[in-house]
């Protein structure tokens, strides 16, 4: 009897171990499932639409002429993302240096929760505010017929990528050991010289990671760009014209497709490319994050 009970206990512990293990690897399972179902649903598109016409095609006109050229969407996404990041870098890194190096403790304790609040404002709310404020502003300032432009998207996305850039840059700055700063000050440098010539270079790989993660966030952002960038799938190299991103295309067009049809499958195909893009950005960023942990 006692032997049986011990055996049962062994089985129980074995099952618990397995159960915990499956939960432990759930993130791998989910990533695998996401990849599988993106591929599975885009097979129809890749097998029936010429690959080069897709990758190098310059027209996205799925309903009228059944043309699925990826270039306008890619240009739209990159244009808005790089515009946003260029605005966000000076602001984000500046704030991170201020919070991490200069600000007294009470100001830091005051600023950090506010940055966290910014990260939680839903993208549809930012899009809505952008629609009511940035869009008319751009229309008036640049005297355009319509304010829904790439610039509006870039401005809103810059704002949305700030929490990521600030918090990760600040972590990087904090990871630089105090002895680096002491050494620099002992050599006669001012505090600001210490920040720019010692701390900043030492934290630079973390700051690069912060910017890349911000870029990943911005490339994948959907609702804001859907609401304020005008959604016109044409190739334009001006920030004062409407553009359309990969994400907005998926969100806007999925509702009107026939499930299982070519258009439906094409949207999964561009989703797959988006998934791969952000995956690579995150992988590279992780390499840079790993570097600052070595101090």
């Amino acid at each position: 009897m006692k032997k049986l009970r011990l055996k049962l206990k062994g089985v129980k512990n074995f099952l618990i171990g397995k159960f915990i293990f499956i939960n432990g690897i759930i993130s791998i399972i989910i990533l695998g499932l996401i990849l599988t179902f993106l591929v599975y649903n885009s097979i129809r598109f890749f097998s029936s639409y010429p690959f080069f016409d897709f990758i190098f095609g310059t027209r996205w006109s799925p309903t009228v002429t059944e043309k699925f050229g990826f270039v306008p969407l890619l240009v739209g996404s990159l244009e808005i993302a790089f515009g946003g990041i260029l605005i966000a870098i000076p602001l984000g890194v500046g704030v991170a240096i201020y919070i991490g190096e200069l600000a007294p403790r009470y100001i830091r304790e005051f600023f950090k929760p506010i940055i966290e609040v910014l990260a939680t404002i839903p993208s549809v709310v930012i899009g809505f505010i952008g629609l009511k404020t940035i869009v008319p502003l751009i229309k008036n300032v640049f005297n355009l017929s319509i304010g829904l432009t790439a610039l509006a998207g870039s401005l809103a996305l810059a704002f949305m990528s700030l929490p990521t850039i600030i918090s990760i840059s600040e972590d990087a700055i904090n990871a630089v050991p105090v002895r680096f700063r002491h050494a620099s000050i002992a050599l006669g440098a001012t505090k600001w010289e210490t920040t720019t010539r010692t701390v900043f270079p030492a934290a630079s790989s973390g700051i690069v990671a912060a910017v890349m993660l911000g870029l990943g966030r911005v490339v994948g952002e959907t609702m804001t760009v859907l609401m304020i960038t005008g959604n016109s799938p044409r190739i334009v190299f001006s920030w004062l014209q409407p553009v359309r991103t990969i994400t907005a295309t998926i969100a806007a067009e999925m509702g009107e497709t026939v499930q299982g049809g070519l258009h439906y499958s094409a949207l999964f195909a561009i989703g797959l490319i988006l998934f791969i893009m952000t995956f690579l950005i995150n992988l590279v960023a992780d390499r840079y994050v790993a570097k600052i942990r070595n101090y």
């Binding site: 293990f21 930012i126 959907t222």
Partner: protein
Amino acid sequence: MKSRYLKQNIWYSILLLLSIIVISFVFGIIIYLFIKGGPALSWEFISQKPSAGMREGGILPAILGTLYLIIGTVIIALPVGVFSAIYLNEYARKNRLTRIIRLSIINMSGVPSVVFGLFGLGFFVMFLKFGKSILSGCLTLGFLILPIIITASEEALKSVPDTYRNASFALGANKWQTVVRVVLPQALPGIITGSVIGIGRAAGETAPIIFTVVAFSQPNLPNSIFSQVMALPYHLYVLATQLPNAPEDKQWGTALVLLIIVLFFTVIGAAIRARARMRRRE
């Protein structure tokens, strides 16, 4: 010598200015929403169904829809996330598999929300044939916030000192008993904080629910987990861009209600964390 300090002061001022700009933008958005949306808030607005093609009445179905989605999402994501964190912190060895798991969690948190929406459509709605339903939506959102819950729970488990575990082992408890009865209760505040932040995130997401659960207009309340619902973020999107001449006050009111719900969870999460920290210091 003087010029070096002058330079320092100039740069300090610039950085301070940048910080003030960013902070005031955050405050600006929130205050502006309250000013514009405040007058639209009324008991009628949050307790009535929309009428006259959503141009009149209230947003009750959207509020309730969002609450249903939040509850379902937590029921799905919390246990899985906590057990996943338990595996990583208590059971996993330092090997290649663990490294891959950590990398997967980081990458999962970087997957764009619209891609989660596509996945939910392909897997839950079509492949598992759950249809456009609360169930599909909650599963999609649950997967989306899983990295947040895992990361927060693991941090919480990590902060429990090893002396607790050793004391429990010394009393003859096995690993599972130690985790469930000693470590988990200690880690609870951190886990709750993570979940609450995850809820806030789930409440505001739009792209993942467009294809998996929300209805353009569904004034009737759901009767099963296979029903469709309205949800606040999508309702705001519809009012702002899809419905011509939607009344301005309804738009601002909806945006404000959504923001209040999200901020509510953020503040609760922060409060629990602050309390736990103070207790630890005592």
